[in-house]
């Protein structure tokens, strides 16, 4: 990487947010407290929203904040509250042979890094790209991607009905 690139504010911001996200993600998968894991997941999701802003995707960033941090995290906290006997640390969160996950993740990461370095080595993102406006995104969704949008609305309908049927007491 060029030294001049490091001075750009976007780069510094990227590395700070990326470090926070990685620490948060590691805490999500290692903490012994389910509520803490949910709150660390909020950190990762907010960092992802910040990265979307850096990637000139403001509408997706706002959707991320509203849907993930607003709705999905509330669902997770409700799920935690409704399914746990005690609030606090638990010893029983990991599988017996959880350590198998470490070599799998490390090998997968090594493979991906080699492949990515091979394929995209020093390719730069365009720094002066215009921000993608909400209008452009909506033109895409309601134009060429209209059929998937309909399919998606049926997926959400099926999910709502399925969740009601599954969770209903009778």
């Amino acid at each position: 990487m060029l030294a001049a690139d490091m001075l750009i504010a976007q780069n510094v911001g990227f590395y700070i947010i990326a470090a926070i996200m990685v620490v948060g993600a590691l805490r999500v998968v290692t903490t012994r407290n389910v509520v803490h894991a949910a709150l660390w997941l909020v950190v990762v999701l907010a960092g992802a929203a910040a990265q979307y802003v850096l990637l000139a995707a403001e509408f997706v960033a706002i959707t991320q904040v509203m849907v993930y941090i607003g709705a999905v995290m509330v669902l997770f906290l409700f799920g935690t509250m409704l399914t746990r006997a005690q609030i606090g640390a638990e010893d029983n969160l990991n599988n017996k042979n959880w350590f198998i996950g470490i070599p799998v993740a490390v090998l997968m990461f090594a493979t991906m890094v080699i492949a990515l370095n091979d394929g995209f080595g020093n390719e730069k993102l365009p720094m002066d790209a215009p921000v993608v406006t909400t209008q452009q995104v909506s033109d895409q969704i309601f134009g060429p991607y209209l059929l998937p949008f309909w399919a998606l609305s049926f997926v959400l309908l099926a999910a709502v009905i399925g969740a009601i049927v599954l969770a209903r007491r009778d």
Partner: protein, 99 residues
Amino acid sequence: MLLNEFLILGAVLFCIGVYGVIARKNAVMVLMSIELILNSVNINLLAFSLRNGSTDGHTFALYVIAVAAAEVGVGLAMVLLMYRNRRSVGLDELSEMKG
């Protein structure tokens, strides 16, 4: 910014999520790890969208977010059902389908 920085960030999150799916026994924690994986995919989609100067990646990312929300809703309903029937959310106890 380099394209690779975003892709490697996505790879890190993906691998942490895969570790979580493998290592965790609590069903809620597994769902959280799946959220990590889906977010890493979104970062990749948006990075490639910026690189190619198109907005297709944004549309895909929005669809991924919607499907993830649906998945969490159904997943947590299943976890609730499991807890109600067995008083536990351990995935290793769901062994009835073992041959």
